[in-house]
Structures are given as C-alpha cells and as structure tokens.
Symmetry: C2
DNA sequence: TAAAGTGTATTACACTATCGATACAGTGAT
DNA sequence: ATCACTGTATCGATAGTGTAATACACTTTA
C-alpha cells in the first residue's frame, strides 16, 4: 500500500497534494515504470475521499505523461518518462527556476548558496529513496 | 515609468503577474531600496485595471517584506530585503526546490543538468539587468 | 485651510475550483 | 454470460477567488 497522506483543511487541494506525492514517488523510483497505481476506488476508500478526486489526480498525471490508463484494467506508471522534447522541458523548468531565483535573490541568497541548497535537497531526496528501498 | 505588462484572459490573476514582475525588478536592482513605486491609482490607470487590484499587489509585496507603505505618501521598496531569518528562507526555498527537483527528475534531468540550467538562468537574469541600466 | 495627492475599507458579483453523488461503460477471469 | 473489478461522464452544492464601484481617511504642499 502506498504511503500517501492528505491534510484536509489546509489550503492546497487534495488532488494537488496527491499529484505532488505521486510525482515524488515516481521521480525517486519507488513507483517503477509499468507499476500499477491503486485503483480509483481503493485509493479513495483508503484516504476517505471521493473517487472523483482520485480520478482528477490521475488525469493530471496522465496529462503530464507520467501515467497511462487502461480502462477496465487500472492505472500504471509510464515507461517513457515525459512526452515533451528536451527543449520544451528546459523551457518549462527554466521559467520555474526564474521565479525561484528571484525569490532567492530577494531573500539575500547568492548564486553559490542557491546551488548549494539545490545540491543538499537533491541529496536528501535520494536519501529517502535509499531508506524506502530497505523495506 | 515602470515596464509592467499584464496578459488578460491568461489564467493567472493580474495581481499575481504584477507581484512577480515587481519582485524581479527588485531582485535585479532596477527598483532600488526606498525607491517609490507608482501610486495605486496611477498604475491602475496605466494598465487599465481596477485600483483595488494594485492594492492587492502591493499588499502581497508588503506581507513578504519587499515594500512598505506610507499612508498618504506612497509605496516604497524596503531597504532590508526580508523579514525572515536565513533559516526560514532556506526552508521556504528548499520546499520549492524539492518540487522543482522532482519535476526535473521526471523529465529526465540529472543533477548536473539542473545546476547548469540554474546557472544559465541566473546569468540571463543578470544580463537583462545590465541592459536596463544602459537606459 | 484647501486642494490634490496618497493608501484603506466595504460591498457586490461573476466566475471558477473543489469535491461529492450517482449512473454509465469497458475488461478480464470464471 | 456473468461477476467483480477497472476507469468515465454528468450533474450539482458549496466555497473561494478575482475584480470592480464607491466612499472613506490620512499627508503633503501651497
């Protein structure tokens, strides 16, 4: 059973929380390509939310090419990670980096500090992956 | 007069677009500490939007400590950039970096590529700053 | 003090997002 | 064919968001 949690009442929508968590699971390899995700109803029951909310989560992930669905069978992690060209990926990530950089500068960070932070976070993310694999 | 533009009809709210643009102007030094921003009414007229939308923009910026307001006088760029401790800043930026890293991994980027992208964008941002100063 | 500028507060309203209830449709094992 | 499982589609209640209209209060300048 997947480690998924939601915080109700928090401003962020349930489906968005789930999208982010599942993305992380995929990125860190805890959800393998062609691995099956919980069914819409099962996950809904597990989290005590409406099946439609799970549907929306999966649709969002499908739009980004991270999962594919087989009607009547289930929802699975995509083997090919992304439907975008590398050029488009650079553009998307670049724009998001821009606003992050601006925040950083306004908070008094310099380039080196930001890069260090990035490296720390990357390491931490891989760390959690290792620990999970110890299951 | 500030170079501010908005795209109506685009999903992103006007006030959010303005917040981001003004943040960039501050981060790149094109708006100097204690420099005065356009008045609520003036900017509203310039962009053909409601003054309240500008009010919201400025309030957002004030909450983050980037500007301060003098009732009856105007809105100004803060001298001290941020009201947060470095620890809190790291936390905020770190969380945002986490989701960006996950996106990056899912798009097939490795750590080096992401750092390179970060450096490129940082350089580009400083570039535009230089150009503006040539006015 | 008067005028003309500043930001503030209140109210209204259209629009959208979010989530739930419920009925439908495809798939696969028996 | 049937059953039990998948995902799908549609509708609606509700709350929240984004923007506007308009009247208010403070400051500065003359």
């Amino acid at each position: 059973m997947l480690h998924l949690t939601i915080s109700q009442g928090d401003g962020t929508p349930i489906y968005a929380q789930l999208v982010q968590q599942i993305k992380t699971l995929i990125a860190t390899g805890r959800l393998k390509p062609d691995g099956e995700l919980p069914s819409v109803r099962q996950l809904a029951q597990q989290l005590v939310i409406n099946p439609n909310t799970v549907v929306r989560t999966y649709r969002e992930l499908e739009t980004e090419g991270l999962v594919y669905k087989k009607r009547g069978a289930g929802t699975f992690v995509s083997a090919e990670v992304t439907p975008y060209t590398e050029e488009v990926c650079r553009e998307i990530l670049g724009k998001r980096l821009d606003v992050l950089i601006v925040e950083g500068i306004n908070m008094g960070f310099d380039k080196t500090q930001l890069i260090n932070l990035l490296q720390d976070r990357w390491k931490a993310l891989e760390q959690t992956k290792q620990e999970e694999e110890g299951d």
